[in-house]
């Protein structure tokens, strides 16, 4: 199994009493809450944390994109990935993801990814995402065309990376007379493409298509949903497309906290993980799912789900019990991942080892402990330990 560290780079210095005045840490939260001096410290600290993980033997380090919010300070993950590319030597650098379709000109991102791939000698992984609903408010892009634009931006970028230029691209959203990328990406035919999502059958069907076979990465979900969606990917490959998906094509992304004992882990992580879920992720339904962003069917599902959970705040206990986060002693955490891997067989694991307000010292301790006590055992896991869907169904 390949182990990645993942960072959101939250604005940990946020005055959390903002919640009394504003209904979201996104879109409408005034940027006067952001202090650039604190931002300077945070960016450099967070980059240190990712560089430390690379030194400690993580297979990859990963960043992502969000706009106009306190939850994640990376409107351009290309900037953070670039900063990391010369400070690391062998770790993969994964941008999970970049929202190409939010750009009026996705080719600028395609160029930047090709540059990073050349600079790092082919260590880049490109994640392609639609961006969350709030981003469609922040950047003014029409959510009703989100799916179509995502696919067209993808096609444009892959063509630009693989097809000899110059050529013209004549799409519905994008029209370019001259597509002729300099540089071309280092990896041939192009950097691996991953599709991170919080659960979308449309995305899975698209990613699993034999012409793509992109890694599907399930993020922020209870164990049940991780199982449902990762299994759906394999089923899709088998039943819709007639091939057996490799376990390298699926991944799971989750917050992780390790400490000496289960109790200590829970106690140390509690305030910081609760800030992440209850304050930094605070986003009303209508901003998370603007009209047209989800298919009619998915929106209906979300609405009924919302009615069943509305008003609930997360606690570390609910998060652990549902499997949304993995928290405990090295033994507990190792066992939990090994067991989940036995059932689901994912060969990619993304660990969010800094979350919310988790401070520098605890983050570093978490990264080191995970790298020393948990990671080596997980890195040896392969399909040999994967019991497969049939076994799971039988259980």
């Amino acid at each position: 199994m390949k182990i990645f560290i993942f960072h959101l780079m939250p604005y940990a210095n946020l005055d959390m009493s903002y919640a009394e005045k504003y209904r979201a840490a996104w879109v409408v939260l005034p940027n006067t809450y952001f202090d650039p001096k604190k931002g300077h410290e945070l960016y450099n600290r967070y980059l240190d944390e990712l560089e430390l993980a690379a030194e400690l033997g993580f297979d990859g380090i990963s960043v992502n994109e969000h706009h106009q919010n306190a939850y994640g300070l990376m409107p351009s993950p290309v900037v953070t990935a670039s900063a990391l590319s010369r400070r690391t030597k062998s770790a993969r650098i994964a941008i999970l993801g970049n929202a190409f379709c939010l750009r009026e000109h996705p080719l600028t991102l395609a160029e930047e990814h090709a540059m990073i791939d050349c600079i790092t000698g082919g260590r880049l992984i490109t994640g392609m995402v639609r961006g969350i609903g709030a981003e469609y408010f922040s950047l003014g892009v029409n959510p009703a065309y989100s799916h179509a634009r995502f696919q067209e931006a993808h096609d444009l970028v892959v063509e630009a990376w693989t097809k000899p230029g110059p050529f013209s691209f004549e799409g519905n959203f994008y029209h370019f007379d001259y597509v002729n990328l300099w540089p071309r990406p280092y990896q041939q035919p192009h950097p691996p493409i991953w599709a991170p999502s919080t659960g979308s059958t449309e995305t899975i069907e698209w990613a699993a298509h034999p012409s793509r076979k992109y890694v599907y990465l399930q993020a922020y979900s209870p164990t049940q949903s991780v199982a449902r969606y990762l299994n759906y990917y394999r089923e899709c490959a088998q039943r819709m497309y007639g091939y057996t998906a490799s376990s390298d094509q699926v991944g799971w992304s989750t917050p992780v906290y390790v400490s000496d004992t289960d109790e200590k882990a829970r106690e140390e992580a509690k305030p910081h993980i609760e800030i992440l879920f209850n304050r930094l992720l605070r986003l009303p339904f209508e901003m998370l799912f603007p009209p047209g962003y989800l298919s009619a069917k998915s929106l209906k599902n979300m609405r009924s789900h919302k009615r069943s959970v509305s008003g609930q705040e997360h606690t570390i206990d609910t998060l652990i019990n549902q499997g949304i986060i993995v928290c405990g002693s090295p033994d507990t955490v190792r066992r939990q991942f090994t067991e989940t891997h036995r059932l689901l067989g994912f060969q990619n694991l993304l660990c969010l080892l800094q979350f919310g307000t988790l401070p520098r010292d605890l983050t570093e301790k978490n990264i080191r402990l995970f790298a020393r006590e948990v990671m080596p055992a997980l890195q040896t896991l392969s399909d040999k330990e994967y019991a497969g869907m049939q076994v799971q169904a039988a259980e």
């Binding site: 409408v28 003014g140 209508e286 603007p290 209906k300």
Partner: protein, 258 residues
């Protein structure tokens, strides 16, 4: 009003029709129509009302070739041809008003008069329109209605799972045509001189989505336009003040447009 269907180049459009005398085409707003619009019945007392669901709204097909408000305007010029009515009174509310403006700057050949009710479409710099898409249902209700009439209207969308689905479908269709820039075409302003039919502007006195400055601006920019205000009314006169809404339109058409 009775439902019927018309096929416009492969797009099945759901129409409500009722009443008699001169034809009046009502273009609905971002909220769509669900039958809880007493203003349409009131209009049908004096006119032959035709109220379609725009493509992608209600029970009308989504038309892949109709992607923005400009496409929609041309689509409705096709509809006017297909209906084979010599002239219609064109009434539009919210984005329906915007649509009526986009139709009228292209071709007024089949338009006898124009009524713009709490109309979107213009952009006045420094006077923002409220964001209907960002607010919660409660907040939306406070924006749409000045009185308690809104609660009943919202309940009418909850009457069945089908209507709930249509409510979401309408929001998605509204976003399709009006997301960016929100509820306006910044270039519309340049072409309003082309409107050469009698025009009346009707605005709820408590309107908060399209501020009253927009009513005045439309009056100033459209030759000969007149302006009337409806009391105790926000964005939805055809729901909130149906008699005043229909009365105002009938009065205008009797005096100016015959």
């Amino acid at each position: 009003l009775q439902h019927s269907e018309i096929d416009i180049r492969g797009c099945k459009l759901n129409l409500r029709r009722g009443g008699r005398s001169e034809p009046l085409l009502f273009l609905h707003g971002a909220q769509g129509l669900n039958g809880h619009e007493p203003g349409l019945a009131a209009l049908a007392e004096n006119f032959a009302v035709i109220a379609p669901d725009h493509p992608g709204f209600g029970k009308s097909d989504l038309a892949s070739s109709v992607e923005d408000i400009g496409d929609l305007a041309l689509f409705y010029l096709d509809l006017l041809d297909a209906l084979a009515l010599e002239k219609v009174h064109l009434v539009g509310q919210c984005i329906g008003g915007w649509l009526a403006l986009e139709i009228a700057i292209r071709n007024t050949g089949r338009i006898k008069s124009l009524v713009l009710v709490n109309s979107a479409g213009l952009r006045l710099k420094g006077i923002p329109r409220a964001d209907m898409f960002a607010c919660s249902e409660d907040e939306l209700l406070r924006l749409l209605f000045a009185t308690k009439g809104g609660t009943e209207w919202l309940q009418s969308w909850r009457a069945s799972p089908d209507l709930e689905d249509l409510y979401d479908r309408n929001r998605a269709a509204a976003a399709r045509y009006s997301w960016s820039p929100r509820l306006c075409n910044p270039k519309l302003d340049r072409w309003l001189h082309r409107i050469d039919v009698p025009t009346h502007i009707v605005w709820g006195d408590a309107e908060r989505i399209i501020p009253p400055a927009y009513a005045t601006a439309l009056k100033d920019r459209i030759t000969g336009a007149t302006l009337a205000t409806i009391l105790d009314c926000a964005h939805m006169p055809h729901v909130e003040q149906p008699q005043a809404f229909a009365g105002e339109i009938a009065k205008f058409i009797r005096s100016a447009a015959r």
